[in-house]
Symmetry: C2
Subunit: 439 residues, 2 copies
Amino acid sequence: MKFVTGTTQKTIGYHTIAEGGLNNQSVTVHGAVHTLREMGGICFLTLRMADGSVQCVCSPETLPPGLCEECAVELTGTLRAEPRAPGGWEIAAEQVAILSRPAAPMPVCLGKRALRIHLDAELPLRPVLLRESRRRAVFRIQEGLARAFREYLTGEGFTEIHTPKIVSAGAEGGSNIFRLDYFGKKAYLAQSPQVYKQTMVGVYERVYEVGPVFRAEKHATGRHLNEYTGLDFEMGYIRSFYDMIEMETGFLQSAMALLEREYRQELTLLGVELPGTASIPCLRFDQAKRLAAEKYGYPIRDPYDLEPEEESRIGQYVKEALGSDFVFITHYPSKKRPFYTMDDPEDSRYTLSFDLLFRGLEVTTGGQRIHDYRQQVAKMEARGMDPADFSSYLMIHRYGMPPHGGLGIGLERLTMQLCGLDNIRQASLFPRDRSRLDP
Amino acid sequence: MKFVTGTTQKTIGYHTIAEGGLNNQSVTVHGAVHTLREMGGICFLTLRMADGSVQCVCSPETLPPGLCEECAVELTGTLRAEPRAPGGWEIAAEQVAILSRPAAPMPVCLGKRALRIHLDAELPLRPVLLRESRRRAVFRIQEGLARAFREYLTGEGFTEIHTPKIVSAGAEGGSNIFRLDYFGKKAYLAQSPQVYKQTMVGVYERVYEVGPVFRAEKHATGRHLNEYTGLDFEMGYIRSFYDMIEMETGFLQSAMALLEREYRQELTLLGVELPGTASIPCLRFDQAKRLAAEKYGYPIRDPYDLEPEEESRIGQYVKEALGSDFVFITHYPSKKRPFYTMDDPEDSRYTLSFDLLFRGLEVTTGGQRIHDYRQQVAKMEARGMDPADFSSYLMIHRYGMPPHGGLGIGLERLTMQLCGLDNIRQASLFPRDRSRLDP
């Protein structure tokens, strides 16, 4: 009888090579043949490994017959420091074994220094184009952001939750919701974990969730997806909505530190300059609108709305006047915020809520929620909503909730702004938009 | 202008108290009044905090008017070791301030030592019943399992991915799939991230995803959910499917160690005995069926299927004969496995695949996948499938994939078996079954 003991295969990856301890030693590595070219009788093979690529030199007799790009291989050779090789390391191959072969040559050359393809041509080929170095780097950085979110919040006493994505009603209301048939009943795809994360504040005080969010928005822009990854948290016993703002700032600081520490290779490849996060300015909604309009000389069209162009202008203002890539915009107008948002007791036309703009684009929406039962019922009624439709949700207010609030970050938007991408589809592995459902 | 610097509120939680360094000191804590009862002129208040509860004693004059259970309070008093108090600590309250009040008393008493309610009565009240200690403990342990999965795999060189849940076709096939309207097109909810995680092996070699999985299964059992959390991984350059089995074993070892280290309070409360994971037996499908049938004296009805009762019997056999709570069942019949599963070259009626049974219940399905383009096309055709319907998926095989495989773990099933729950609905915060869509 066979028994297993959890012994996993230890392989040599790019990071092990880059650490330098194996210089002049024989190594066995595996990976895909990223590029293969002959120069003066010698073959240069770029081996794509899990965490980076390394140049290998092979004599013609070392090359197995039929070796081509995108073959999976196992390669044994001597590792040596080689300043002329990308990354500074090279393997002089002594043996190359083919583990698997493609059935056809790649439709594009992955080895090009900057592989520029129109998005409409790129997206159908995504399954293989993601193998290109810069694209790989984008989603490694995205991993780092989600990882930092979880690790930071775990350290701050948050509990991770998993809440349903098939729901009986939309939390945000409106028509931007996908409908489905659920065993003969009407159901929807969750527009946010709002109801559930508030509920779980009554259980664990501080909770977070990383999961998909669905928005049936019809507009096709470079900053909207119909399915995205939400980084959501919610916390109780707050003194004001600045507690959430401070928590997000702490997360951003921690994320930039993690990227700097463990994702340097990817940042360098993409030329990403990490934004400063030591101190982030907060501007009131009306104040931010006024400052940007005055500075750039345009009229304010709607005092209760913030259009994308205005967000961009505010981002520009904050960068020029305060040197910050980030700005929290606070006190959004009540009519623009959902029914669970707490109004500002000093001026009920505004709310105790905020957005975070990063380089002129909204990447977060958050705020303090109503915790008092009667206050929540009254706000629903004032909006023409029937509290009876929300009895499961109102149960938490009815039986007692601490003062609380939270926020939701769009992971793809954060990735996009950080990496300087010009379309959010470049920050989603397999983007969903109005016309795209495949791959 | 206001600036924020990431300064978060540091509060004293249960763990800080339990560490003992604050004995005989004045502390200020916050939480919900879990229970409140008077005994001989003194009030005993159990304060429910984020990470545990502490007993507080209050004189009548310390109690603010209107204090009741589920009030959110801030409480200042002297902490002292008190062997008679649950957990060994007590706060002699000097000041209690009410932060918020419920509008009605709780429908059930949360303070009962074992709050037993029929599931049909429990589930509608979940939003507030989750505040009860044992229920809180279950989902803390669930957090620990998901956290261990991510942390272990990150350490093994895996990259986290986020893949679409709205898809154009089902990976597992069959009728167990939710349909939705996607801007006038037919779409489905992903039954697994199978296609995408295989695709990403071509990019990062080793990937994992934690996310929702949707199954429109009509049967109502104590071990099925229509939406659950999948812990999925996929890895390339494998030598055999035992590489995935070893990796899962490593994860289980790491998970048990994390729970022992950081979730001791919850394990004790639930009376959970952590299973041994040092060495896990592997039995072939046909062998496991035969051994259990022989030992317990029942006939094998279908040599190509494994019914729940048989899984349970095999679990019993492995526990009694080998002392193990876990067993990997390998070499499932080909006709029971999806089209992407690699057949055993030594006997093509069976596959290079496996399930993990934990205390007699399947908690994982995995296996080696076909990586060769022609082989995959041939298997599709043999099953009457049209390869043209899978062109995005087959792109990865066509342009080259390493030998690879992976697995999917049901987080709720793992939680259920570990905590000894008798219905999977107890291991899902807000379960989705055929008749339940709310809360």
